[in-house]
Each structure stands twice: as C-alpha cells, then as structure tokens.
C-alpha cells in the first residue's frame, strides 16, 4: 500500500542529480573564516559557554552516537564535532580569552572544510548525546552552531545547498509548488477525499511537505480523512503549505526565517487557531520550538504534530477507531525531532494502543531512541551514503529484535531514509506512517 514504487525510484534518482549543477560560491579562505566566526559569535550564548567550560573530555558522548557505534571511528565522537567552536570560544568569547589566546590555535579554512564532513555527513543532530552527557552538555546545539557557521562560510554540502537555495529563492522544495499540490489534491478529490484549499478563514491550518506530495500522498489523504471525519473547519493554503525548513537543517538562518515567516503569515491571514504539522520531525522543531524564536514574536496559534493531534482527539473521545482485523505486530521509531527534541513520545504510543496493535518497544526508544541515520537533511548527501547504511544496520538489528512485522514512524524523512536503507540491504519489513494506520482504522 501507501508507497508507489515507481515514484520512490524516481525520487531516489532525483536525489542522485541533486546539487550537481549548484553553482558554488567563490569565497576566499579568510572570508570563510571571518563569516564562520561572526556566526559563531552571534550564536554562542551563555548556556553554551557553560557547556564548553564544563566539558571534562570523558568521551562518553561517543557511546551515544549511532555513527560512532556503527564505525567505532573516534572522529565521530560528538564532542569532537564542535572542536573548532570550542577553540573559537576560548580565543574570542570566553571571559579569559586574552589568557587563552596564545595557547589556543585559531580556526582555519582548512579546519572548516575538514569539519564539514563531521557536522553534515556524520551528525544528524539527533541529540542522543545530549541525553548521555554526565555534565548535561547539549552537544547537539553546539554542533548546530557549527552547521550555522559553516553555512555562513558557504560550506554546506552541494545537495543541501541546492535545496536551501531553492527554498530561499522560490519557496519550493524538490520543485513542489502550488501547482503540484493542486494536482495531488485534485487526484485525491477524484478518489473522494476532499481537501479544502485556500479557504479564507479556517480554524485549523494543515501543512504538508514536498516529500509527502511527491511520495506519500497517502499520508496527506489520511490526514484529510481524519480531519473530515472530525468535521473540522480546516484548510490547506497553496501559498503556505510547505512545512519543511531546509534553512533549519542546513544552518542558514535567512532561509529558516523566511520559511517560517511564510507559514506564520498565512496562518495569521486565515485566522487559524491551530496549525497541524505533517509527519515531519524537523518541521515540528522549526515551527513548534524555533518558530517564535526566529521571528522574535509569540505565535498566535497552537502548533501540533499530526500524531499529537490524533492522540488528543482520541483521548477526548472525538475520534473513534476500530481494531484492525489481523492484529499485526508493530514497533515504533521515534523521530528525533519529534521525540527527544520535541516531546511527542507518549502520544504516538497512545495512538498505537488505541489501534489495538501488538506494540513492541525496540531496545532503544523514546528519549533514547537511535536516529534513523539520515535526519537533519543528511539523507540527501550522496557522500554520506555508506556511513548512513552502517548506521541503518543498528536500526535494522533493533527492529528485527522486536519481532514486529511492521515499523511505524511519524516522519517522512525517517521513512524515506529507512526505506532507502532497507532497499539497499534487501530488508523486507514495511516502514509505514502512523497517520495512515489511523486513517485506515477509522470507525464507521
């Protein structure tokens, strides 16, 4: 069901072409370093300063990282991934900077280039190390500052840079604009699934992502079915449907802010009190937790992930489900930015329980879950494919250990990455969407 194999092949092929013709900006080494440092200076805050000072170099964070776990290569130790940032801090921002400066090597363009691989190819910002650190250091936020600095220095990997440029310049991702959305909505309409588009006013604004439009339209259909069943006053907007935020993952603040502003503007215009995000981890982080902060204003609506919304409606007794006939066994993969970074951990489990499925928890789960291996835009970087595949083996082993027939998740990116990993490994277990599972079990 749910995934069109031909569409999946096309999508994988388009990924192969991504970034090939992205013009690379010509920047001198000095300028790269200057820009990176300027961003570091802007982004490093007092909390990060405390973290950088309190680190005792115990190296335990390595044990949390799926890339270290998969390769045992010491350079993938999370603490090592922000080493240039630590040096920058000691030289330029720490209270003892003038004391440390003579003893701390300055960062060079070479450093930045070396670290590009470590922070883009070998870190998905999953934050598992944040949970491990005995000092309470939030390593993922420090690595994110590294990404932001590298983005300023023009060192985003070409594939991600291409996506970022596209969203920054034309507000589309993977070429999915209003036309493509309408096409899908029309197709679904013909199947009897009605999606209200561009209503002037609506209680609920529903967003989707390019990946959903291209690959997982069943998930979009499922969302529509559920909202329609609830009789919600909802709409999608052809000028503000894209929940994906490439700026967040590439580290480019301008793109991030622009993508967020667009959603907020549209939501305000239609008077939405609730904005429902599609199955996407980073979209949740971008709007739910960072939206207000990048815009510098409190958002005038509540932001819910679809899984969170469903759980609430079930809990309130508004959404009734029937048990699936076969009672197949499932396990749930927590998307990092929904679970560990987002706090949506219990809700999907409540939903699975309500579906009456034989739910089996994997060895790592919830706040300690292992990343799918391709988050934070990493799955588009061709160079990192072998590394991702090694990390996928961890997921595969854990999923197999549960004995569950199906892997359920609630993030299109996780889903794609797991599917690519499975495809490469010849692994047969289906990776499905939570929303689709719910839509398929709506009580008559």
């Amino acid at each position: 069901m749910s995934v069109d194999n031909a569409a999946f092949r096309d999508f994988r092929e388009s990924l192969e072409r991504l970034g090939i013709d992205t013009p690379s900006e010509v920047i001198s080494d000095e300028e790269r370093v200057r820009r990176a440092k300027q961003t570091f200076m802007d982004k490093l805050d007092g909390r990060m300063a405390v973290d950088l000072t309190t680190c005792v170099h115990c190296g335990m964070c390595a044990e949390a990282c799926h890339f270290y776990e998969a390769t045992q290569d010491e350079k993938y130790a999370p603490v090592h991934k922000f080493e240039p940032l630590r040096r920058f801090y000691r030289r330029e921002l720490s209270p003892m900077r003038w004391l440390f400066r003579p003893f701390t090597r300055d960062i060079t363009a070479q450093d930045l280039e070396t670290w590009q691989e470590l922070v883009y190819d070998a870190c998905t910002g999953c934050g598992r190390c944040d949970m491990m650190c005995p000092m309470g250091i939030r390593l993922s936020t420090l690595i994110n500052v590294m990404r932001q600095g590298l983005a300023s220095a023009g060192l985003v990997p070409a594939e991600l840079q291409a996506l970022q440029n596209e969203q920054r310049d034309s507000d589309t991702v993977f070429g999915v604009g209003a036309g493509k959305l309408r096409e899908v909505i029309d197709r679904l309409g013909r199947q009897g699934i009605e999606i209200p588009l561009d209503k002037d006013q609506a209680e609920v604004l529903v967003l989707t992502t390019a990946v959903e439009v291209l690959l997982f339209s069943d998930a979009l259909a499922a969302t529509a079915k559920i909202l329609n069943r609830l009789g919600a006053d909802w709409t999608m907007l052809s000028q503000g449907f894209e929940a994906a935020n490439i700026g967040l993952v590439s580290g480019d603040e301008v793109t991030q802010k622009r993508a967020t502003a667009k959603i907020v503007e549209q939501a305000k215009a239609c008077g939405a009190r609730t904005v429902i995000l599609p199955e996407s981890g980073h979209a949740y982080q971008a709007l739910r937790w960072e939206g207000a902060n990048v815009l510098g204003e409190v958002l005038p609506f509540e932001v819910l992930a679809m899984s969170e919304f469903i759980a609430r409606e079930i809990d309130a007794g508004r959404l009734k489900l029937k048990s699936p006939a076969n009672g197949s066994s499932v396990t749930y993969h927590d998307p990092c930015r929904l679970g560990r970074h987002g706090g949506v951990i219990e809700q999907p489990r409540q939903v699975l329980k309500a579906l009456g499925l034989d739910f089996r928890e994997a060895d790592s789960n919830g706040r300690e879950n292992f990343c799918c291996g391709g988050g934070c835009g990493e799955y588009v970087i061709k160079r990192s494919a072998p590394l991702r595949q090694k990390a996928f083996e961890i997921k595969k082993r854990e999923f197999d250990e549960t004995g569950a027939d199906t892997v359920i998740t609630s993030c299109a990116n996780c889903r794609i990455n797991l599917m690519i990993g499975a495809d490469n490994a010849g692994w047969q277990k289906p990776v499905e969407s939570l929303v689709e599972k719910v839509a398929a079990s709506l009580a008559e």
């Binding site: 300027q38 200076m41 802007d42 490093l44 007092g46 330029e92 720490s94 209270p95 603040e253 301008v254």
Partner: protein, 355 residues
C-alpha cells in the same frame, strides 16, 4: 685535675673504680643515643680522652639554657662530664668577676689556642652594638675574638642556634644566630628553649669521647637527638592514627590523653628528643603533661602563628583579602561578560546586515 691528664688517669686518681667508670660509660652511651653495645668503645675512648678547655659565652639570652643544665639532677652524670672539662670562662657561673674574669678568658684562649671548645648561648645583636655588651665589649666582637681560636662551637639554645626569641619579628636588635656570623668553624646547634640538658652534655660527651663533633642534620643539629620528630616518637601517636583528638584542653579527649594535633601541637614538624629523653629527670615532657609541643627547637618557632593553630591550618593573611579577590573576580567576570555581549551584539548586527 691537670689539663693534660687523660680522663682515665684523672678518674683513677679520684678513686673511681673501673666498674663505676663502666656504669658511667654505659650511661654516657645511652645519653649520646648510642646503642648499649657502644659502651665498651666509649669506655676505651673516654679513658684516653684529654680534658678540654671550654669557654662559655652568654649573649642575648635569659640564662634559661644555663639553668637547664645546672639545675638538672646535680650531682649527676652530666655534672661528672662537666667536671671532666675545664670550664675556664662562664660569666654566670664563675667566681671571678670584672677584669680577672676577662683575663681568665684571654688566658684560656692563649693556652689552648686551636683546641678549646666554645659554647655560646644567646643571640648576637647586629643592630646597635651597645644593645648587649660584656665588660664593654660588644657581643659581636667577643664572639669573633673568641671563635678565632676555637676548635669547634656549640651553639646552645635556640637563640644561639637560630636567633630564637630575640630574633622573633620584628627583631628590634637585629639578633642573629652564631652560624650567621661564624662561618669558618664547625658549629653544633643544640637548639631548644631551653635545650634538654642531657643533649648538651651528650654533645660534650661525644666531643670528649671521640674528639669529633657528632653527625649533624641540615640545621646543624646532632642527628642522634634531632633525627626524629616528636610526633614519630610520641606515645600519643596511636591516637593520631586512630583519629582520636582532644578538641579543647578540658574535653573528654584531653582527659583520655588523646592526640593534641588539633590544639596546635607542633610535634610533627619539630625535631627533638623530648619524647624519649623527657624532662625533669625523665619525668615527663609537654605532650605527656597535656600541652602540645611549641616547636621550640625549630627556627622561627615564635613566628609561626599561634601555638594553638594546628599545623595543617593555613597561615594565610585575612578573610578580607579573599573578599577583595572575590569582588575583583566578580567585577572582571561581569565586565568580560558585558564585553562578550557587546561583541555578540556587533556580530548580530553584522549578520543581519550581510544577509
């Protein structure tokens, strides 16, 4: 006793039996902290020893050292050894006075040029020479003159050995020890305030017995007596190991005779024989009497803080300096944080301008 007689001949002439002499020798060996088996060696050496001339000079002192020696159990072994030397000058003890006393000193120096022992108690003022004089002669001049022909010098008491109480801060007379003035003669420091009398006689006995000075530690003190600290030889040491301490002078621990470390005992850093030789005819010593060691045989013992400050406590200045340092650190911290904020603000503005 004629000066060039051997001690053996002298004692024999006095009708002292060989057995009595051996008793004397084993007691002497014991007081020199030699093993009992050394008694025979001591006997042989002493029998052949010649009677040395001794000149005793007292400078800035309280006569406590002389008192310690002479008020000990006389007539005793110590006095016997004292008898065995020819004390030619000691202005407190000698009968002669005035010019005849000084004449005795000059005579002894001339007669025993290069062979006499010089004993000094008290420190020497280097401030105004008039601070301390004998027969119109400053201590410094008298020491230099008398030391010139001495075979060796015994600095008795902490004043002579290390400057002692006159040397204590602010040292108004500019008092110094013998060794700070005389550098070309062997000097034995018998420190203590006062020194244990048998230690004084022990050193004399050693000189008498072997004609040499005993082995000295890095402060010029005889290792035999100053080789171990009070703490290591203290009978209260087991309490220290068990962590049983008296906290005040009248608490349960004090009554039970527990360790006095917390009450400022300087035993661990004080090298002397008090814990084994004891005082008052072997009766007791300060710790046995319930008071911590003051460390009187160590240099500058008067200036090392309160006698009642434990040695593991710091002798640091004042809480005010620390509060000052804290205030300065806090100011610098706040200042650098404000500077960091300013730099961040600038970077932020530049970021926004460039994007």
């Amino acid at each position: 006793m004629r000066k060039h007689q051997t001690l053996g001949v002298y004692l024999h002439a006095q009708g002292v039996s060989r057995r009595a002499f051996l008793k004397f020798c084993s007691a002497t060996a014991s007081l020199m902290a030699l093993p009992p088996s050394a008694a025979a060696q001591v006997a042989a050496a002493l029998a052949a020893a010649r009677r040395p001339s001794v000149i005793w000079l007292s400078f800035q002192e309280c006569t406590g050292c002389t008192e310690s020696l002479t008020r000990s159990h006389a007539p005793t072994l110590e006095s016997l050894i004292f008898d065995a030397i020819s004390l030619d000058y000691h202005h407190t003890l000698q009968a002669a006075s005035g010019e005849s006393a000084e004449a005795a000193r000059i005579a002894a120096m001339e007669e025993n040029e290069g062979e006499y022992l010089l004993v000094v108690d008290g420190s020497i003022p280097l401030g105004n020479p008039g601070y301390s004089t004998i027969a119109g002669m400053s201590n410094l001049d008298m020491l230099r003159e008398t030391a010139g022909g001495a075979a060796a010098i015994i600095a008795v008491g902490t004043c002579a050995a290390f400057g002692g109480i006159p040397h204590a801060s602010p040292n108004p007379t500019g008092a110094v020890s013998v060794s700070e003035i005389i550098t070309d003669k062997p000097i034995v420091n018998v420190s203590g305030c006062p020194p244990i009398p048998v230690v004084i006689t022990g050193v004399l006995a050693h000189f008498l017995t072997f004609g040499t000075l005993p082995d000295l530690d890095h402060l010029g003190r005889p290792v035999a007596f100053f080789g171990q600290n009070i703490h290591d030889r203290c009978y209260r040491r087991p309490f220290y190991e068990r962590g049983q301490f008296a906290h005040t002078f009248d608490d349960e621990g004090a009554r039970k005779g527990w360790c006095l470390y917390e009450l400022g005992c300087k035993g661990p850093t004080t090298y002397n024989a008090c814990a084994t030789l004891k005082w008052n005819e072997g009766t007791s010593y300060p710790i046995a009497s319930g008071h911590g060691c003051l460390g009187c045989s160590e240099p500058d013992f008067w200036d090392k803080g309160s006698f009642y400050t434990p040695i593991s406590a710091g002798l640091w200045g004042s809480r005010e300096t620390l509060i000052g340092a804290a205030a300065a650190g806090a100011a610098l911290g706040v200042g650098s944080a404000l500077a960091a904020r300013a730099r961040k603000k600038k970077a932020r503005a530049a970021e926004e301008a460039e994007s």
